[in-house]
């Protein structure tokens, strides 16, 4: 560079301006070409009736190549700036795409749901707060709020409680791995799959018939009449919550157990030397030590309980007083085609989840994960 500037000749002014025109052309045309390539790919994918294999290959090339192309483009563009500015812009080349994707797939739909929640069934007429009034007065909705609260308290309490218990007990057992694997196993089962399994546990046949349901088989064995468990209000809610606990205890146990291993044995031994009982050690040393983990696990399961849908939908469909918010939202949206009410219920769910998320993030922050 230096040499060039030293040996500056009259003709080079022309050359310089040619270069800068070229630079401008390049910086305009390259993004333009990139855009055209991507747009062409998009049109092809949208309209083509080519063989599906061809479309799949193009889609992969277009998707992966497109992302790479955009990245290189952005990187190249940022590097055109002076060093100081480029350094400051650089991080956004990496964060930018994630922000765009989040904005497009998460933020915009949320805003749109909020907007739709103020309109009627077909999203045509503005109805003000009508949908929210419905959500907070309809008997089925009130039933859902009550049930979701039950799910949060009993579901989270059960899963975290049992998880902690199993973690503490297996920690002192020779068969730790075996026990933990057994408890962890249900985690691999989907909610709907669990629904099918538990259907057999709760199955009902009239008295005198062979009971194919595990629970009724046990009950009959002790001489009592078989029960249609799903129809017993309000206990049926608890029968459903047990399924969530069964599914989530493994998750709670694994995380809590890992955290237990992190407690320095010297502290526990010091407690023992001081004459603390085992319960006192758990209460005063172990629990405070793993408190952050407990909060994280609990908030995760609280969010799962808030959004609970599959179990209720497959087992009782919300009948017999077991309705939950997410299932109400699904029904309003996809069975009754009332987009206003469906969106309003979705917004209520979002708002209910926010404090939990916020608390969870704050806990993360304390532990300097961010």
């Amino acid at each position: 560079m230096e040499e060039v500037s030293k040996s500056k000749e009259p003709g080079s002014v022309f050359q310089d301006s040619l270069v800068s025109i070229g630079r401008i052309l390049v910086s305009v045309s390259i993004p333009l070409i990139a855009f055209l390539v991507l747009w062409g790919g998009f049109l092809f994918l949208r309209d083509s009736r080519a063989h599906q294999g061809v479309i799949a290959v193009v889609a992969i090339l277009w998707g992966v190549g497109g992302v790479a192309l955009l990245f290189f483009m952005a990187d190249w563009f940022v590097n055109r700036f002076p060093m100081q500015i480029a350094k400051k812009l650089q991080p956004f080349v990496f964060v930018g795409p994630a922000l765009v994707v989040l904005g497009w797939y998460l933020f915009l739909p949320t805003v749109r749901s909020l907007y739709l929640s103020f309109f009627d069934a077909m999203s045509r007429e503005f109805v003000g707060l009508d949908n929210y009034i419905f959500a907070f007065t309809d008997p089925k909705m009130l039933e859902s709020f009550r049930n979701n609260l039950l799910w949060i308290v009993l579901g989270t309490g059960g899963a975290v409680g049992f998880g902690l218990l199993v973690a503490l007990l297996t920690d002192r057992s020779r068969f730790e791995k075996l026990f933990k694997s057994l408890v962890f196993l249900p985690m691999a089962i989907s909610f709907v799959g669990a629904g099918v399994i538990w259907r057999f546990v709760y199955a009902f046949r009239p008295a005198g018939e062979a009971q194919i349901g595990l629970l009724n088989a046990v009950v009959s064995f002790f001489g009592a009449d078989p029960q249609a468990w799903f129809t017993l209000r309000p206990w049926n809610n608890i029968f459903l919550i047990i399924i969530l606990v069964w599914l989530q205890t493994g998750y709670a146990m694994v995380i809590i157990s890992a955290s237990l291993k992190g407690i320095p044995s010297s502290i526990i031994e010091a407690g023992r030397i001081d004459g603390a009982s085992e319960t006192r050690i758990i209460r005063s040393i172990i629990i405070p030590h793993i408190y952050g983990t407990l909060v994280t696990v609990a908030t995760t399961i609280v969010i799962i309980s808030l959004k609970i849908f599959d179990i209720v939908f497959t087992m009782t469909n919300g009948n017999f007083g077991t309705e939950v918010i997410a299932s109400m939202q699904y029904k309003q949206m996809f069975r009754f085609y009332h987009y206003g009410r469906g969106s309003a219920i979705a917004m209520i769910l979002v708002i209910a989840v926010i404090p939990v998320m916020w608390y969870n993030l704050r806990q993360f922050k304390k532990r300097e994960v961010f």
């Binding site: 991507l38 062409g40 061809v54 939908f313 009948n319």
Partner: protein
């Protein structure tokens, strides 16, 4: 720097060549009609079988895609701007929604003529919205039938009841003999309750008559109307009497509608009667299906009020057009003729409404008699819960049935159902 330029160039070239390839792909003309519907597995196979002659004759490929979640997916696809060429809608309400929003192509003249000559008028009305016809019915079902185990009835000497009084006498006779008259199962996953609404509709047609029934469907009389209440009370005399129902109300609530007829064919039979549509034969135990005519008897649910006779309650899938093109038109014309149903009728498990159909095509006496009852019925009415808007017909009416069977007070149930009207 050079690398980047190279990369851009490579991507550019591949992109252009693929775009070119895409254009070449479009140039190849394929005659395809895309069809989306709710029937899956065996039913889908039989449907595809039934339309094969059309494909062979015209060279038009009909690509049928079925889904158990049809009712959800069709709305998503239509609103996402990606509708199928033709869809088979099981609920007239869905058709009305789409028609109101202007997504559907109305019947053209020649199709209307075909429909006029091949169907009873009621089917065209059922496929119309605000006087404009859209839907062509193909396979339909009829629900007002009572099924019984033939051999067990012969052993016990039971006779088919011709009137409601005789039916009630028969029920008491069964109880006296230590038999349970009815097997009822209402569980149907997300649609639990429809078995109950079908019963209520059948009783409404028999006690209140078709005119009041139509007013009820349009909410011109409310659910709290005495006629509706009477229908519930008549049903309650049967359903809420533990002597009449195998397993009582618990069994009604928790047995799936596909499992409950099995009780008729257990050894010894757990129940003697089961009211269900013609489609019940497809979920009977295999050894019963194999000997249908020897094992199974059927009779229409008797009249209650003589003046209304024996009405038939039913339903059906109507085919509607989203994308208008000559191939689609040709296929729709085919669907409106008996030829499109004949092979399926022969395979069994389906009834067709064509007035000029050949009843000999049905594979057994049972389906033949059902088809005959359907074509000859003086009064045919579409399933009311399918006609009512979703929040009632697929909402509060279903849950109301469940609550009522579960022991909730009838007046409160009726008020709750009525509140579901949008």
């Amino acid at each position: 720097m050079k690398k980047v330029v190279c990369l851009v160039l490579i991507l550019l070239i591949t992109g252009i060549s693929f775009a070119a390839a895409g254009q070449r792909g479009e140039a190849v003309e394929e005659r395809v009609v895309n069809l989306f519907g709710p029937f899956v597995d065996e039913e889908a196979r039989r449907f595809e079988e039934a339309i094969r002659p059309f494909e062979q004759e015209t060279g038009i490929q009909v690509r049928y895609e079925g889904s158990g979640d049809f009712e959800t997916l069709i709305s998503v696809r239509v609103e996402g701007g990606n509708p199928p060429d033709i869809a088979a809608l099981p609920q007239p309400g869905l058709m009305k929604n789409f028609a109101e929003q202007g997504y559907l192509v109305p019947m053209w003249d020649s199709l209307q003529e075909t429909v006029d000559s091949n169907y009873a008028e009621v089917w065209k009305e059922l496929g119309s919205f605000e006087g404009v016809p859209y839907g062509v019915f193909h396979r339909v079902n009829a629900k007002s039938f009572v099924w019984y185990p033939k051999k067990a009835w012969e052993n016990a000497g039971y006779e088919i009841p011709a009137t409601w009084d005789e039916l009630e006498e028969l029920m008491d006779e069964m109880v006296a003999n230590g038999h349970t008259p009815w097997a009822v199962g209402m569980e149907s996953a997300g649609a639990t309750g429809w078995v109950g609404t079908d019963w209520i509709e059948d009783i409404m047609l028999r006690t209140a008559g078709p005119e009041l029934y139509d007013q009820w469907v349009d909410n011109e009389i409310p659910f709290t109307h005495p006629a509706v209440k009477e229908a519930f009370e008549i049903l309650g005399d049967i359903w809420l009497n533990p002597d009449y129902i195998y397993g009582g109300t618990s069994m009604i609530l928790t047995t799936s509608y596909t499992d409950s007829p099995n009780a008729l064919f257990a050894d010894p039979p757990r129940a003697m009667m089961h009211r269900q549509g013609n489609f019940v034969t497809s979920f009977l135990p295999q050894h019963i299906q194999d000997n249908l005519e020897e094992e199974v008897g059927v009779f229409p649910l008797p009249a209650i009020d003589e003046q209304y006779g024996i009405p038939i309650l039913g339903g059906g899938d109507q085919f509607v057009v989203f994308n208008d093109n000559p191939d689609v038109r040709e296929f729709m014309e085919f669907l409106a003729t008996w030829e499109s149903g004949e092979l399926w009728a022969k395979a069994g498990g389906a009834l067709f409404p064509y007035v000029n159909q050949d009843l000999d095509a049905y594979p057994n006496e049972i389906e033949r008699s059902l088809a005959e009852a359907l074509v000859n019925a003086e009064v045919f009415r579409f399933d009311a819960s399918d006609l009512m808007p979703g929040p009632v017909g697929a909402g509060s009416f279903w849950t109301g049935m469940v609550d009522w069977v579960g022991g909730t007070d009838l007046n409160r149930v009726l008020e709750n159902i009525e509140r579901g009207w949008p």
